[in-house]
């Protein structure tokens, strides 16, 4: 039993922090929101650091690391609200790595030359037997795209849509789940074809790259991979979002603690008041709980795959709540100034509000935790 980071993991984290510190990501986020300029492209930074290949094995040009390592990088990206399109890419490469017939794609994915994006497809749960994907608006879910018969080259036509796909704008390849004759199959489609439409959308948080993706007779490779890999990618995406969120909580906490030490009211630093102090310890409590669940998810991804859905969903549930709480505490402890455009707090707030609604939403993750626990209890 040892939950300490290895020396390599500490180095990975430090290197990520260092690489990201070279870009003024928060300033860029505010400027992008203002429509003044587009976000800096952080993909070259990611490629230089080797992040695109984190989950691809070494023989295919990757680093052959584990989900926990990917989460460490995601955490560092979240810490500075950096818009690095890793969430979609890493989940997609996890599927491609599991497919026997996708090995030829991997080197370009690993180097980052061809960026991939994951089409979120929620696997069945104890109370819902269907695979489903995001709807453009409102409650409820949509079926995953329909896949036609495979031709001689292993290709098939795809019809359907996925809404609010993270990191889809600019991705070269789209990887996800489709349905054929009542069975779920994995597919990979190049975005550079007329049958694929990627419609970028911005919602509230300019650092979050999103698109509605539509397939109209698009040609896709049917991946020879187990359905488990598709399900695992969904949970991996949840865990990465959780890691990002915990990173953002950590920096929001640092900034707010510092302000609470520096700002005086009624002759005392505001951090000496219980109302402020206890709010900040609540941020800490939620952050530490979230972080513990990141360890669980990181361990379970390969160490206990049957527990990975529980671990990832629990991490998302707790981390999402932590970020929402931390962003609101950041604003309220800063007083009025925390709600102004020039301050960083609104950027954390926007990050929290949108993150909560993506990839099925934090609420569905909470329901999944219950479902997994009910399943264990029923044994």
């Amino acid at each position: 039993m040892n939950l300490a980071l290895s020396d390599e993991q500490v180095m990975l984290r430090e290197a990520a922090r260092e690489a990201l510190s070279r870009v003024k990501t928060l300033e860029a986020a505010r400027a992008a929101l203002d429509g003044k300029q587009s976000l800096p492209d952080l993909w070259p930074t990611a490629c230089e650091a080797g992040w695109p290949g984190l989950l691809i094995d070494e023989q295919h040009g990757g680093a052959g690391l584990d989900a926990f390592d990917a989460m460490l990088v995601a955490e560092e990206c979240g810490r500075v609200l950096a818009g690095v399109p890793l969430l979609g890419h890493l989940a997609a490469t996890a599927i491609l790595s599991a497919a026997a017939n996708a090995t030829s794609f991997l080197p370009a994915n690993a180097s980052g030359e061809r960026r991939a994006a994951y089409l979120p497809a929620r696997p069945p749960a104890d109370n819902d037997g269907a695979w489903s994907t995001e709807r453009r608006s409102g409650l409820g879910r949509e079926p995953v795209p329909a896949v036609g018969p495979t031709d001689g080259d292993g290709h098939a036509a795809v019809e359907g849509a996925c809404a609010f796909v993270p990191d889809a704008p600019g991705a070269a390849v789209l990887v996800g789940a489709g349905e054929r004759d009542g069975e779920i199959v994995a597919f990979a489609a190049s975005s550079e074809q007329p049958g694929v439409q990627i419609e970028p959308v911005t919602r509230y948080d300019a650092t979050r790259s999103l698109a509605h993706v539509t397939f109209a007779g698009a040609q896709a490779v049917i991946l020879d991979c187990p359905i488990d890999a598709l399900a695992s990618a969904w949970h991996l995406a949840q865990a990465l979002l959780a890691a990002e969120s915990i990173g953002a909580v950590a920096s929001a906490l640092e900034v707010t603690v510092q302000y609470a030490k520096d700002r005086y009211t009624f002759g005392r630093a505001i951090g000496s008041y219980q109302a402020v102090k206890h709010q900040l310890t609540e941020v800490l409590r939620r952050m530490e709980n979230g972080r513990s669940l990141l360890y669980y998810a990181g361990f379970a991804y390969r160490g206990a795959p049957a527990e990975f859905p529980l671990a990832a969903a629990a991490a998302r549930c707790v981390a999402g709540g932590a970020l929402d709480y931390a962003a609101r505490a950041m604003i309220s402890i800063h007083g009025g100034i925390g709600a102004t455009w020039e301050h960083d707090a609104p950027l954390y707030f926007r990050r929290a509000q949108l993150s909560r609604l993506l990839l099925g939403g934090t609420e569905q993750a909470t329901g999944r935790v219950a479902g997994e626990v009910f399943a264990l209890a029923a044994r």
Binding site: L33, D34, E134, R135, R136, S137, G138, L139, F164, V201, T202, R203, Y204, L210, D262, Y264, T265, F266, G267, R268, A269, Y273, A275, V276, R328, I331, S332, G335, G336, I337, G338, A339, T340, W341, E342, P346, F349, R350, Q353, L354, R356, L357, L358, G361, E363
Partner: protein, 404 residues
């Protein structure tokens, strides 16, 4: 216990309704077809409309008749608001001036000030703004640093910065709290002034909020000259004068829970439109929100009853704001979850509400300070140890600076 009008109130309501029926065609159109779009045009039209409302007896309802008011009670003021809302026309533009600053001048101003300022304020000819809060004096209002120094001829020179100022961008005057003596304990060295917003050295800058819109302003004062008689209520009496304004603010908040537009029906309509009305989680969350917001409506009626009986509402009236803001935050969360990311699209009314609320939470004093005040003044709990009592303001500042 009765929610109905007394005969006198019913008569006032009938008069108000008749007047509105006759004059509503003159009201500016702010939404829908034919609505005004230019900011300047809207302000001008609303100022003019405020003047008409004042002539019709629907503005300054509780002001003494001597100053152009109706000399009526708080219930009539609420009735005027209800009838204006029922007629679907805008209310007065300068609610801060007429609701809080005018009454302060009535209470503490000189006869010359009352004669000069009250009429144009009531009729919307001159809009006012409240210049109290500062970057380093929010919760701790008495910590303000804006400095007014007396010149040899008795006139004043003003320097400093105010923040969170509504309407400053088109106001003619501001009521400003400044420090005139830093060498006495902080509550004692303050004075209230009337400041012409077009005086040289006054600069107004919009302060953008989370939503991107400039709901408030910062106002900078750089060696602004004020005449010797610009003080309201006497030099060194600024804290007492400010407490009067804050008392009227509290009355406004106590009565105005619904005024913020956080109506359970509005939330329910959005959820109905999304087909979410049978979802048990949605029902639970909407039920809690609606129960609390409904409570606030009746708390307002209780405050009104107390006002009618000549009681001044205590600080507990501020709890209604806490309930309203937190319920509206919960409603924003719920609606966003039901509608998905489109609720956060830049043109969405919900994105606007979700963005506006975190700032509103601190506006007019943080929830924490309010709870301190209520705990001490209403429940009689002992105060926190104060380290700033009796210490000259200049020493306090020196200490803080040293600590940082």
């Amino acid at each position: 216990m009765d929610l109905n009008d007394t005969p006198e109130q019913a008569a006032y309501r009938a008069r108000a309704r008749a007047w509105l029926q006759e004059n509503r065609a003159q009201a500016p159109v702010l939404s829908g077809p034919g609505a005004l779009t230019e900011e300047a045009e809207i302000i001008a039209a609303r100022r003019k409309w405020q003047g008409r409302l004042a002539e019709g007896g629907l503005a300054g309802v509780t002001w003494p008749e001597d100053y152009g008011g109706q000399g009526l009670g708080p219930v009539e003021q609420v009735i005027a608001g209800q009838e204006i809302s029922r007629a679907g026309v805008p209310g007065i533009l300068d609610a801060i001036g007429v609701g809080m600053l005018g009454p302060t001048i009535i209470a503490h101003g000189s006869e010359e000030q009352k004669a000069r300022y009250l009429g144009p304020m009531l009729h919307g000819e001159e809009v006012w703004c409240q210049l109290f809060s500062e970057p380093a004096a929010g919760s701790d209002l008495a910590a303000i640093q804006t400095r007014a120094r007396r010149a040899e001829d008795g006139s004043w020179v003003l320097s400093g910065q105010k923040v969170w100022t509504t309407n400053a961008q088109f106001a003619s005057f501001g009521l400003l709290l400044a420090r005139t003596d830093p060498d006495v304990p902080k509550h004692n060295g303050l004075t209230m002034f009337v400041v012409p917003m077009d005086a040289p050295g006054v600069t107004v800058r919009g302060l953008r909020q989370i939503s991107g819109e400039a709901e408030f302003n910062e106002v900078f004062f750089d060696e602004v000259h004020l005449p010797a008689d610009a003080d309201v209520g006497g030099v060194g009496n600024g804290w007492r004068t400010a407490l009067t304004t804050l008392m009227f603010e509290r009355v406004t908040i106590g009565l105005g829970g619904e005024g913020l537009g956080y109506d359970p029906l509005r939330f329910a309509r959005a959820l109905l439109a999304a087909g979410a009305q049978r979802d048990p989680l949605v029902r639970k969350r909407l039920g809690e929100i609606a129960a609390e917001l409904t409570a606030v409506r009746f708390t307002g009626y209780r405050v009104l009853t107390a006002l009618q009986q000549g009681q001044i509402p205590g600080p507990e009236a501020g709890l209604a704001k806490v309930t309203t803001v937190n319920s509206a935050i919960a409603a924003g969360d719920l609606i966003a979850e039901v509608l998905g990311p489109d609720a956060l699209a830049s043109e969405s009314e919900w994105a606007y509400m979700i963005s506006f609320l975190p700032g509103l939470k601190s506006a007019g004093g943080t929830e924490e300070i309010l709870r301190n005040t209520i705990g001490e003044r209403v429940l009689g709990l002992p105060a926190e140890p104060r380290l700033d009592k009796g210490v000259p303001f200049s020493e306090l500042r020196a200490k803080e600076t040293a600590a940082q």
